[in-house]
Symmetry: C2
Subunit: 455 residues, 2 copies
């Protein structure tokens, strides 16, 4: 990058020597990136970010297929840039299983005569699940519908397999500089760039090229690819270690994402009765920088749409991304501090300590929440209502866990909550604790979630 | 920039320490840039380029004023990013005088009840003319219409005066890195960002922030501003030297742009009978990197829209931009080589050597072009037709200059040309050589341009 700042500052559209040199650098970067993507150099342009690449890909592909229709098929776990771009059209969402995996048959079933585009990520950005892109590409090709692959998560690990039509990626995701995205549009794909005309990058990416960053992006892609196979094998072992050991070290944890169809470096798990922001802060204090899809860590106070689509627990969510060069000692250090940090957060929240459900007789003595009340018109011995209104994740689930022992097996507990995360986390808690989730209904305030005690 | 690559690589939206540090850097950069612009930090966002800033400014301002109407007033000499963005609406163009200057009265006259936006550059990018922004801003404010100022050319020299509503700029234009633009939207300006939703930069600039470049952009803006006054005074003297000496050193040259209302570092002139690309190549060989608005240096083979709007000569056009630190010796070196390079290009094209018109009697002997013919039905002694069809700038003008002496004073010469540059350059030649431009009419092929010999 530093070399490119010296050599590649000029405008590649200019005729003087610095401009011609810039043009040569740009051409070389395009060739290198195209080779890594597996396309022709004239099929690839550089954009200012992966998000810009996605926005341009969706709008250009949809405009190119205007006569076909306005339907766009997306998976429920696409990156928000894809979902937001698709919102301008008739968006049809294909769901995923509990591991985050899309089924090619579900994509096939979603196709209609007016389907103009299908969007599928190569791998998920939050849970690492690798999607069946080649299979979906074959389905799309057979139906004559272009497939856009958001390859942001996986391009550093290897090219995207299959007969895709459009592909996007982001350099900072493979360890390159920020400010560079890729957009590849295979020959024969109808594509009409939208927005004001601009002569740069074949009219597909307006604005003065960020040449130093483009050169660095292409060089870094080549560099990470050279190490990719070895590094993937190494990191994958470390991820397996985290996947196996976290549930043994920390009670009430759900590791999410696919066990084998996954990125080599990413692992995500959720901890019951834990405030995600407090957990992140605790881990940060211990020197570990992790992300979270918990509602309390998002500006909208809703859980990640990916965890929601998977139907997994979102509270106490932790996403660990191992950067290249991570060694076993780093992972051991993380596993050493994690149980203590989780316990600390749980204790501060007054969360249930263990997994055992107390006996109804003793539970009343040992401090069921004051908000607990018998449901009007039902047997006070077998139905309880917990008012968790005004509290946020993970409090409603903690309230539920604290009173479930107050009803006999077969009895009902209803949690009143206006926290969006409860909709995801109460059923997820039931699945984890082998209780029966009965359902939800609108309440006078918020929503009433009902659970039947099974164990 | 290098420090920011080390310190500012993380996602400023994240809660861990690297993310928080990135957020602090981003906030500090925003404050510094806002101070230089003369706006509040929360009025300013960073975009991936000046072009993106302009596109977002126009689409956001037009959508914000949707109920007012779809008319947008632009000057004829705006940057192509402004003109292209305005093309999606009802674009009304305000002309300029021969120096490239917009008149505030012309803007006022163009305003209608459905005018949603006015766009005016702070200074022109090709000829350096500084526009009366404060005066136009007052006109717009009185009419209740927002003014968007494209300040790309001038922001390094100082803040934009006047009560503008929106402002855009580009870091690489002030010597900062590529990959960063600015968009300022003053409070109270109706603005509705277009395109897919994105949480970055107040929803006005989608995509992962290019933080290292943003930090470097803010730092470089502060640095160039510290030197701006001194450097402007110094470079302005050098530009004055070029403006004064080029017409004395090189025959048949027109210096274009305003003599005093101009940027300190930019000077543009056009040379009759010269192929712009050959001139650029010759100067490049001599070590000088200049740009050109000549048709032969553009991919569309049309002259720059700025020179066209000004009605000045476009052939042999040279734009000299003095970078900070340029010294008198650099300028002297340029003035030393320029006459020789121009003469060489002219000689290779067989252009007239001097300004004198040969006598009709001798001109015939001294080689009038073979294509010259008498116009059907007119006096062969007083009317000539030159067929320049299929030739490109500067050949049609050279053909005209070679035969004008073949008709007596008062006689007519008609040039047939299908080169777009002829429409601009034949009248410009007449103005420079004190001949009378009669007019143009469609011919069987191309256009017939008629000139009356006056001297």
């Amino acid at each position: 990058m530093i070399a490119a700042l010296d050599e590649g500052w000029a405008d590649p559209a200019r005729l003087y020597r610095e401009g011609r040199r810039a043009r040569l650098l740009l051409d070389a970067a395009r060739e290198a990136a195209a080779e890594a993507v597996g396309c022709r150099p004239d099929e690839l342009v550089f954009t200012p970010s992966g998000t810009h690449a996605v926005h341009s890909a969706v709008s250009g592909a949809m405009a190119g297929r205007r006569r076909t229709g306005r339907q766009v098929v997306v998976s429920a776990v696409e990156h928000s840039s894809v979902l937001h771009a698709a919102q301008a059209y008739e968006q049809v969402t294909v769901g995923v299983d509990r591991s985050g995996l899309v089924a090619a048959d579900d994509v096939r079933a979603a196709l209609r005569p007016d389907t103009a585009l299908v969007c599928l990520q190569s791998a998920n950005h939050e849970v690492g699940t690798v999607q069946p892109v080649a299979e979906v590409a074959a389905v799309c090709r057979a139906a004559g519908v272009p497939l856009l692959v958001d390859a942001a998560q996986s391009l550093g690990w290897g090219p995207v397999e299959g007969d895709w039509s459009l592909l996007t990626a982001s350099a900072h995701k493979w360890g390159g500089p920020p400010g560079v995205g890729l957009l590849a549009v295979r020959k024969g794909t109808r594509f009409a760039p939208q927005g004001p005309a601009d002569e740069r990058e074949s009219g597909r990416a307006p604005g003065f090229e960020n040449l130093p960053a483009i050169v660095a992006a292409a060089a870094s892609l080549r560099a990470v690819r050279e190490e990719a196979e070895r590094e993937a094998a190494r990191l994958s072992v470390l991820v397996d270690r985290i996947r196996a050991r976290v549930p043994r070290l920390v009670p009430d944890v759900e590791v999410v994402g696919h066990g084998t169809l996954r990125l080599p470096h990413l692992v995500t798990f959720s901890c019951l009765y834990v405030d995600g922001e407090a957990l992140l802060t605790g881990l940060d204090r211990a020197g570990f920088s992790v992300s979270s899809g918990s509602s309390c860590t998002s500006s909208t106070l809703t859980p990640s749409h990916v965890l929601k689509a998977m139907g997994v627990l979102s509270e106490g969510n932790v996403r660990v991304s191992l950067p290249p060069g991570t060694v076993a000692e780093d992972v051991e250090g993380f596993l050493d501090v994690l149980p203590g940090v989780v316990a600390e957060v749980r204790s501060a929240l007054g969360a249930p300590a263990g997994g055992a459900i107390p006996d109804p007789g003793t539970a009343a003595d040992s401090g069921a929440p004051g908000e607990a009340a018998t449901e009007a018109g039902s047997d006070p011995a077998t139905a309880l209502v917990v008012d968790s209104l005004g509290t946020l994740c993970p409090i409603p689930v903690i309230d539920l866990a604290r009173v479930i022992g107050d009803v006999p097996v077969g009895g009902l507990v209803t949690v009143l909550s206006d926290d969006e995360a409860a909709r995801l986390d109460i059923p997820a808690w039931c699945a984890m604790r082998e209780q029966e989730y009965v359902g939800e209904r609108p309440a006078e305030r918020g929503t009433a979630y009902t659970v039947r005690r099974r164990v």
